[in-house]
Amino acid sequence: MIQINNVSKWYGEFQVLTDCTTEVKKGEVVVVCGPSGSGKSTLIKTVNALEPFQKGEILVEGVSVGDPKTNLPKLRSRVGMVFQHFELFPHLSITDNLIIAQMKVLGRGRDEAMDKGLKLLDRVGLKAHAHKFPGQLSGGQQQRVAIARALAMDPIVMLFDEPTSALDPEMVNEVLDVMVELAQEGMTMMCVTHEMGFARKVASRVIFMDRGQIVEDCSKDDFFGHLDARSERARQFLSKILQH
């Protein structure tokens, strides 16, 4: 589904990604973790070309992301993305947030888009809020709407960029519940997150990044089960975030 081959990226002199190679197969849930500044958000954003990269190649269902001839809007419309800060459109109602891209990008009629949007809104448990504006919802609710908005486009894969790290603690679970359900339904997902409980429950693979490099890329069982076989950096990181 997604192939990342030897991707490197520089901000001027500073190299943020170094020869990153990995893949996400259909139906896999891949969790990307690592200390802040390790390049994990940057890596996930290269997948739908929100961040350009200078070297290497990324293929999404065989389509090269870095190729200047690629129709990026079309590619992006098939890749769902959920952001750390939700990024719902604040000037549009929840309903309009859910239907606008369906109508303008996919060319669906209003009724069809509305039908789809409201079904998904119901699924994330927020049907009663359809007429509200994003600013009237809590962070957790906004993030669930953002997930529904991405799903409304019938994506082939969902990218999550630290979806719970801007949330108050008591709202983290409502978002994770939606993500777990999605994973269990077989959605292909790439998630940058520190939620190791989530990783333990549904991840197929865990990628650990440090200083722009993929240090670990292994199955969930290997990652959590055989800590002694992990790199020093990964063990340190895990011991820090699993301590409490």
Binding site: K45, N48, L50, L72, P73, K74, R76, S77, R78, V79, G80, M81, F83, H85, E87, L88, F89, P90, H91, I100, A101, K104, V105, L106, F133, G135, Q136, R149, A150, M153
Partner: protein, 219 residues
């Protein structure tokens, strides 16, 4: 000092014509200025260098020369270039639209720059093209953020339209000036137009203040 407003009744229609012209000029310059200003703002922020340089040059040029001078230029230049003498009133429509676009451009540019990067990324991630992202995500928010500034600029513009009297156009001030000289009522006429400009501008600026509080987007 004796004030004599007795000639006002006879001049009413003429003044009303002038006032209507001032309003029409203001509204048309605002509409065209905002439209062209939006395109200029997008051009200025474009990654295509020649385009952004040309737009920046345009904006800097018109923001650095006095409006009166531009009014003179167009009044003289337009007939010279086109061979058609369009008259002071009509040439002013072009002058103001072109001049004001530079000012509106900077306001709209500030509005666009006030939109968080994440919003732009979210629009892109949904599959919007550049144009769609501008139209559905960025510009609606940008405009909402700068509506008070746009209206304030329009109030300034309304006052500045009085400068067209230098090329003999019959706007509100021009009409009053002509009546004043005919009837020898300079003090009365200038007091009257001052009162009209003040009432309209002041009322509008109070309205803008109220609007400001109402339209802020809840984030």
């Amino acid at each position: 000092m004796n004030l004599d407003f007795s000639t006002l009744a006879g001049a009413q229609d003429f003044l009303w014509q002038g006032f209507k012209y001032s309003l029409t000029l203001t509204v048309s310059s605002m509409v065209f200025g905002i439209f062209f200003g939006t395109l200029l703002a997008m051009a200025r922020m474009s990654s295509i260098k020649p385009l952004s340089l040309a737009a920046a040059g345009y904006v800097n040029l018109f923001r650095s020369v006095p409006l009166v001078l531009v009014i003179f230029w167009f009044y003289i230049l337009v007939p010279l270039l086109t061979g058609v003498d369009v008259g002071a009133e009509r040439s002013a429509f072009l002058t103001f639209a072109i001049f004001e676009a530079a000012y509106y451009c900077e306001i709209i540019r500030a509005g666009i720059q006030s939109i968080p990067r994440g919003q732009i990324a979210a629009g892109q991630a949904m599959g919007f093209s550049y144009g769609q992202n501008m139209r559905y995500v960025i510009l609606p928010q940008a405009f909402r953020n700068v509506v008070p500034l746009l209206l304030t600029q329009t109030i300034v513009l309304f006052q500045d339209t009085s400068l067209v009297y230098v090329v003999g156009a019959t706007d509100l001030l021009g009409a009053a000036d002509k009546v004043a000289h005919r009837d020898n009522t300079l003090v009365e006429m200038y007091m009257l137009v001052a009162l009209i400009y003040f009432s309209i501008s002041f009322a509008l600026s109070q309205a803008v203040k109220r609007l400001h509080a109402r339209i802020a987007i809840v984030r």
